[in-house]
Point group: C2
Amino acid sequence: MATRKTKTKTKAKTTARRRTAAKTPVRNAFYAQSGGVTAVINASACGVIETARKHKNKIGKVYAGRNGIIGALTEDLIDTSKESVAAIKALRHTPSGAFGSCRYKLKSLEKNRREYERLIEVFEAHNIGYFFYNGGGDSADTCHKISQLSETMGYPLQAIHVPKTVDNDLPITDNCPGFGSVAKYIAVSTREASFDVASMAKTSTKVFIIEVMGRHAGWIAAAGGLASSEDTPIPIVILFPEVEFDQKAFIKKVDGMVKKHGYCTVVVSEGVHWPNGKFLAESGLTDAFGHAQLGGAAPVVANMVQQELGLKYHWAVADYLQRAARHIASKTDVNMAYAMGKAAVEFALKGHNAIMPTVDRISDKPFKWKVGMADLSKVANVEKMMPKNFITKDGFGITQKCRTYLEPLIRGEDYPPYKNGMPQYVRLKNVAVKKKTKKAFKL
Amino acid sequence: MATRKTKTKTKAKTTARRRTAAKTPVRNAFYAQSGGVTAVINASACGVIETARKHKNKIGKVYAGRNGIIGALTEDLIDTSKESVAAIKALRHTPSGAFGSCRYKLKSLEKNRREYERLIEVFEAHNIGYFFYNGGGDSADTCHKISQLSETMGYPLQAIHVPKTVDNDLPITDNCPGFGSVAKYIAVSTREASFDVASMAKTSTKVFIIEVMGRHAGWIAAAGGLASSEDTPIPIVILFPEVEFDQKAFIKKVDGMVKKHGYCTVVVSEGVHWPNGKFLAESGLTDAFGHAQLGGAAPVVANMVQQELGLKYHWAVADYLQRAARHIASKTDVNMAYAMGKAAVEFALKGHNAIMPTVDRISDKPFKWKVGMADLSKVANVEKMMPKNFITKDGFGITQKCRTYLEPLIRGEDYPPYKNGMPQYVRLKNVAVKKKTKKAFKL
């Protein structure tokens, strides 16, 4: 299964590198997971590894960075060739980051040349010619910087970014793998909890508040709107980070909904903020010792509802549950996540560098999409917000345009296998690759 | 489908009643949902209605109380015979209370005779001879009082309680329908979120805290312990309402877990309290205006972890999401919920009164159970707490005995049907029965 690695003992580095590249077409790949993990980032890993294993004439081994790019910097590599076919296949239905992720952003080459030199040292030691980086906006930026190493530092490397983020804020691609599954979780959970509060409203809870992720973009909050549909209408008020919070208008909206329907559900994004930019979640809560309480937005909104309208409420904060909920992942999302990983390898084999595979939507009805490609220079540091025409005029709901966009992304169920009532998620062996560089690197 | 109703125009009430009972063996049934709803209470409703429909020679129509017992008091009855076979069948996979529930406890006959007289007035007007009450401890008490009406007020009625409560605190029955599904949701969600935090722990979140329901009994918190199993060990700290909170011991436990495993997950029951009985959730939080903040226990625990250990945390409050999560219901639980509804009708047809069908466990391995029966006098006002030997000595975990009890209850998946990515939950027509009593009743 393993391919012999080429050792390059060099005199003149550049010559040696060229020679290596010329003599051995087989090079190893590096894969890393970056930033917040999702229910389907491992499906992308599965796509990368399974596809690479099919091209052993070009890609030797896939080494994964333990805890993302930190694994590359500290030469803490995981040999994925030690994992069975079944284990790699099981990644497709396992949430979280199987190799560990990290929040670590490389500075620019000018500001921290040391880190790039170290990456090259490690890559060279392990004959790494392919760099697959699975992450969001910051990671796209890092990947873009690394993609320039061939040119700027003379090390032959193809860097491809694999899109991932529950926030759905990467440009060019129709959506980001990870988002569809969170959207499904939030839509389903909001529908279920709304049924609950509707049952209780006569004598008890009348307002249910669910807080969802999305500090800057309201994509996930928008998905809460899918809980209501033509055949199952539900009174829902959405608080988007894109819309400055207007307490008076919000209270009026909730009051009207409860008066008309007997109850209502509020979907509040963690990123909702006052006109002065301050998050609702930081509304000056202090505990008994006077310490600032890092609360959620949901309890703050709940308090308002109680104080202004005197209505009984319940609130939930989904937090990690939403992005880890592989048990209710969107099949469309899982398929896209896998396809992005697969495409990344195929693009690499075709010689591409500094790109990111994308989801290109062909049509809404029927929903059709294909794999596309974006230049990383156009992806890095661009944040895709909700278009204005996706939010209703009053700022509290989603438009039909938004529904048309969102609906296909939550379609299909893709249940993991269960044993004794529990989902069977894989834990890899994560065998370390023997270190080859002389000295340790301090982060 | 409908059976002709007998009209009883009476002179001397008691005689008329006897005559009615003698002349017409066919009487109608009243069914109501009470207290907090669950993912499977409608499965019990389905069991009641489907079984009653099979015995039209004895049970005419099933009238449901709109919003529980309030529907009986205000003569707001729903004619379930107007619902199609498919709609009733769909109740089995629909969470929440399809007829509306309520939090309303009848006082004793001595203290509020007026309510009981009103119930008899309504029941008599609609020829109701069977009373099925679907709820928890308080409802069992109400049902028990109503079961005495035959004797105390001369109205022939059979009252049967159908067990339901996510809190799992009813006595005699092995478990309460509703609990198994919450347990599964919490076990699955805790496992998923733990995988997430394990991926992030190197550079980011090291402690994840999930708050679960259970104000007095720690059954749901205990289910969090199932997230960890022999093949998938996870460092979990559980905070039970049965164990007085010891901040020092808790912080030491978390510290040890994080030092050993790199991360840990805390499952905290909403009912966790200080030795003086004060809930953690009421730890004196105030908002910017000095108003008491009705926060959750999770943010309080999170603050402790941050202040005492300086560890990065995330927290979630599952709230209604856990008890409404029909999408991940336990098949065992759904089957039991249905069986309890079915058995209630069958027991009634055999002439029983003042009883509750129960789940009787025959064996753990293999898991076998049968329908049993409990006297309501022994159910009402008894709360089943976690046995001491279900909690580990240090107070932060579950024992093997507890696992053996819990594991069978979360077994099996019972997915609802989906359309365009969303679960298809039924909403009944809930057609009102024409009122027959003269005057309105004020609650």
